[in-house]
Amino acid sequence: MMKTVRTLLLLLFVVGIAAAFGKAFIWGESVTKYGAYVPWGLWIGIYIALVGAAAGCVVWGAWLSPKNSDGKGTETASALLAAALCLAFGLAFVGIDLGKPLQGFRIFLHPAFASPLAWASWLYGLFFVCVVGYFLTAMKRPLLLLAVVCAIGFTVAEALFFGQMVSRPLWNSWLTTPLFLAAAASAGAALLLLVWQGTGLKVDPVVLTKLRKVLAATLVIYALVEGIDVAMAFSGSPEKVLAVKRMISSYGFWLLYGVIGTLIPLLLLLRTDRAVLAAGLSLVGAVGSKYAFVRYGFVPEPMPGLSKAFQDAALQTRYFPSPVEWVVAVGLLAGLIWVILLAVEKILMPKAAQ
């Protein structure tokens, strides 16, 4: 059964990579549906969700790993590895989304200190350095702590990037930072639970119990922060009210995030043997909520009537991901699961057996 699942994941991954390469090097933006008035869509939603999951995973991994292991245990290593892979796949999504995918490296060559996105990118780079250093050197504890600082740093930078956008009423709020932190905390706990309980790693049952409690608590906290954010948005400008109404009534928000990603996992977490499913569903919810956050941020027109001023398919406020966007999204997410399973089997399990 597991072998069939992994073969299917690999197949989806290969198709996703092929579609991603096609978009990046052959078809260009003609196979995507985002444009000038909805410049970001599905891929950016997944990118934010994965970046948050990576950050939360490394923080909870460092926090919950048995303290007597001095940062050298399988728990810590698996958390760091899963976080690094999750972040790498998140960055792959944003890389494909770029108008010039091969030019992304410029972010490291042309410092733009005023841009939170630039800070986030530098912190991603430093995070990967820490992870590589962790596995290759003996400086486990300091590098782990630095990785945690980077993870919190890039989550905050991402949140500031969205939260400071004066042109997007849905995002332009001081609550965006707590919202991103809460989302990262719950998605990270879910990712870690999947890795620790769902891959066959031998993790202390006491630690697993703690992690299940953390997931339940963070899901509740995230729902509370989201609820406060939505409630406060209703007292905002008409544009903000319009955006938040469209967001909460979307399937991505109420169904994927609210029901499948929060309510059902909270019920499932009451039973120990359903924790992996709960974690998986809450990750689906994390993607749903971030997609809704990105997509419906673009609902209010910057100036009323703008989208009707010049008739063009790419100058619309309507957006639904194209088939290529879906194929890349499903393929790379399948690839992430496949790579994590492979890394656990080939790197972490032999290490644990030693």
Binding site: A36, G99, H110, A118, V166, S167, P302, G305, L306, A313
Partner: protein, 235 residues
């Protein structure tokens, strides 16, 4: 005596402004919506001047209808880039590809832009669009020569003749026809306006028609609450 065409007056203003160092002039625009008839000549003139591809428009004209029948008002609002003094599109760029020039124009360096569209997302006026690399003759047997023709922006010649062109995949926007200004020509939207609704000039020149018209009327600006300090005024 017949009144002089405002284009002639603005041309003289432009020549005077160009004699000053860039840092001592501030390009701005005033659009008199009472004179705009919604002909879209400025939009089309701009598209032709810069060979704009699908999905890219620098100066659309918004058709706004307000009120309830029978008290209905219709107004046309041409929307160029507002060349803000405090542009939110600049600070958000992660590679510093967009900047505020000494003469007030907000420019884009196509060679540095990575196409992340952060600036597109953070323009309060929707003034930035994204060059998706698509042509009007997409999926037809032959790309037409006008789509690969040279155009001039930011004092440089550009071509959209392949996917590797620096312009393709970049954010794009109105720049008050920088390359025309350098040659002593008014922006194309100004010269094509049949109602003479668009005024252009140097805000620092008290004698310019732009400043004189601003002083005579009651100009307003859009979304001042964002703190962007737009340099396009409306009457």
């Amino acid at each position: 005596m017949a009144q002089q065409d405002i284009l002639i007056v603005m041309q003289a203003d432009l020549e005077r402004a160009l004699k000053k160092p860039a840092g001592q002039r501030r390009w701005a625009m005033l659009i008199d919506t009472r004179k705009c008839v919604g002909c879209h000549a400025c939009t089309i003139g701009c598209v032709a001047e810069h060979k704009l591809p699908p999905g890219v428009v620098y100066r659309p004209v918004i058709d706004q209808m307000t009120g309830v029948y029978p008290d209905v008002k219709r107004k046309f609002i041409p929307r160029p880039c507002f060349q803000c003094e405090n542009p939110s599109c600049v600070s958000v760029c992660p590679v510093g590809a967009t900047k505020k020039e000494a003469d007030g124009i907000v420019s884009i360096n196509y060679e540095t832009c990575i196409g992340c569209r952060s600036c597109v997302a953070n323009c309060p006026y929707g003034a930035r669009t994204f060059d998706r690399g698509v042509d009007y003759t997409q999926d037809t047997p032959q790309k037409q020569p006008y789509e690969a023709a040279t155009f001039y922006e930011y004092d440089k010649a550009w071509k959209r003749d392949s996917h590797s062109s620096a312009v393709v995949g970049s954010a794009r926007k109105c720049h008050f026809c920088t390359s025309r200004l350098t040659k002593g020509l008014l922006p194309v939207c100004v010269t094509t306006c049949i109602g003479r609704a668009t005024y252009f000039g140097d805000l620092k020149d008290e004698q310019s028609l732009l400043v004189q018209t601003l002083k005579k009327g009651k100009p307003y600006r859009f979304k001042e609450e964002t703190g962007n300090d737009p340099q396009v005024y409306y009457l």
